[in-house]
């Protein structure tokens, strides 16, 4: 028997693949190295890691290059690569309080405890297209490189601010008695969405995991359609914390009693302060929603935090929870959307057949038959029910 090639389809898809590969690998420009992607397209790499649900900058860069810059396609490559790998362990839980900030702002206060640390951000930069010539930009790069070398010689200079755990605004509110206290002591096992499918009613941990690897645009849209669109299950929040920083990766080892920090991940964290105004809610306090995702992606973390508290307050009364859990995954939505490109000739043939059947069953309505026929109600009894 051996390999029986079903001709036609295979040859065409092989040729299409070869065309893509040739254009991607050969091109007219210089080879695109992974280091260039991780360094210069940092936010794209972060998005691929976040939406792919895997912290692995080199893998994400490789995927981004292979996908010709398509973030969703790159996330798909990362996710399917994950499926080949063995799960070695769950990490030791790390408290979000251990975050070492690279950026931290508190919109709710002018002078919060701890710094308003802008960090690496484009928020306050005019969105002016940098039109400097290539040679001028490269010249600037050379100059900057020299300056940074200079700085290295002065690292002993005194400095304050940043560098260690900073008290979070939620704790400040708690101290003032302004926050609903939802702290639990039972420490339930977290829901692992990579091993169990979610459906409404799952624990909050499943919701947080789902949003952490949701598609950014999906969360933004879900947020916006609830602010301005047809859904109204969400209130605009005040942001407490917006942070980007490092969290240690802590694992158990079989050879030590003390857990081991094998490195770090960068994450974006947001606290969203919700003004409680429901009849049965505590009007004297605020509640807080939480967003945390891999990489630097503030709009995703903000949408996540606002949606988190909205689903909590909604308490399953609306469809919001189902929307969050089941419609925000980029791979699910894009894959299903694009499957419409697949052949559908069997289903379409069946649909056309039913159109004909409806016309035959109602000749008067459609006017297909010239001579109207009074049909008895039972004419659709066309044959016996199959045994």
């Amino acid at each position: 028997m051996g390999y029986v090639a079903a001709k036609g389809g295979l040859e065409a898809i092989s040729a299409a693949e070869a065309l893509v590969r040739r254009k991607r690998l050969v091109g007219d420009s210089r080879w695109l190295g992974l280091d260039q992607i991780t360094e210069r397209l940092r936010l794209a790499v972060d998005r691929v890691m976040g939406e792919g649900g895997l912290w692995a900058p080199e893998v994400a860069a490789r995927a981004l290059r292979q996908a010709e810059g398509d973030v969703i396609e790159a996330s798909q490559l990362v996710r399917s690569f994950r499926s080949t790998l063995v799960r070695l362990a769950y990490s030791e839980p790390v408290s979000a309080d251990d975050l070492v900030p690279l950026r931290r702002i508190v919109p709710a206060y002018r002078n919060p405890p701890g710094p308003q640390l802008l960090g690496r951000t484009l928020d306050y930069v005019g969105r002016l297209l940098d039109r400097s010539s290539e040679s001028a930009a490269q010249g600037e790069a050379t100059t900057l490189a020299t300056q940074s070398t200079d700085r290295r010689d002065h690292v002993e200079a005194p400095f304050d601010g940043g560098g260690g755990p900073v008290e979070r605004l939620l704790d400040v509110l708690r101290e003032q008695g302004l926050a609903v206290d939802r702290r639990r002591v039972d420490d339930p096992e977290p829901f692992d969405i990579t091993r169990q499918p979610t459906r409404p009613g799952v624990p909050r941990s499943a919701r947080l995991s789902t949003m952490a690897r949701a598609e950014t645009g999906a969360l933004v849209n879900l947020w916006y359609r609830n602010v301005l669109g047809p859904d109204t299950y969400l209130h605009e929040v005040t942001l407490g914390e917006v942070r980007h920083g490092r969290l240690p990766v802590r694992v158990k080892s079989p050879v030590t009693d003390v857990p081991i920090d094998i490195g770090f991940v960068r994450v974006t964290e947001v606290e969203a302060i919700e003004d409680l105004d429901g009849i049965d809610e505590d009007r004297s306090a605020f509640d807080v929603g939480y967003g945390l995702c891999m990489g630097h992606n503030e709009r995703k973390a903000i949408a996540m935090a606002n949606l988190d508290i909205s689903v909590t307050r909604d308490g399953g009364r609306s469809s919001l929870e189902q929307s969050v859990l089941l419609t925000t995954d980029g791979l699910d939505a894009s894959g299903f959307l694009e499957h419409l490109k697949l052949p559908h000739n069997v289903t379409f043939r069946s649909m056309i057949e039913r159109k004909a059947a409806v016309r035959a069953a109602a000749p008067r309505k459609t006017g297909v038959v010239d001579e109207p026929v009074k049909r008895v109600a039972s004419t659709h009894q066309v044959s016996e029910v199959p045994p």
Binding site: S95, R204, S205, V249, T256
Partner: protein, 155 residues
Amino acid sequence: MTATTAFANPALPRHRRIELLAAAAPAALIELADQCLADAPSPVLVAGPEVGLVMYQVREPVEHSRFCLGEILVSRADIEHRGCRGWSMRLGEDADAALAAAVLDAEVESDGAYSGAVDELCRRTELELDREAVLERHALSATEVRFEGLDGDEN
């Protein structure tokens, strides 16, 4: 490298050694591990070296409960070298470096001839990490919004 280096400083606790070997540059790890292996019997591979996933758990502040943020790509090696167990887990896809780090861990555990060199590598790595952290904080500190005093207009 001589063994005297190791006595120049207080001994590194083992967990800290494994952390620093997880952060060290692959080339340095492999070079030193090859030296350790040159005169020793081949190590026993207990588990791995293998590339796999660790699911990352975070404790969030609102309910103080855990959730799974996502997975992390790691390489792990669990070996026996000179009669002692050596263990390593590093971020990323590099089984060679993980194996080398595990060998170096066992080299120290078995009080091998290169223990001092391993210790030296760890301390160099630690210095470099500290240096990078200071540089980073220095660059960041300039971006902190500083107010003249706390009596200014709120908002």
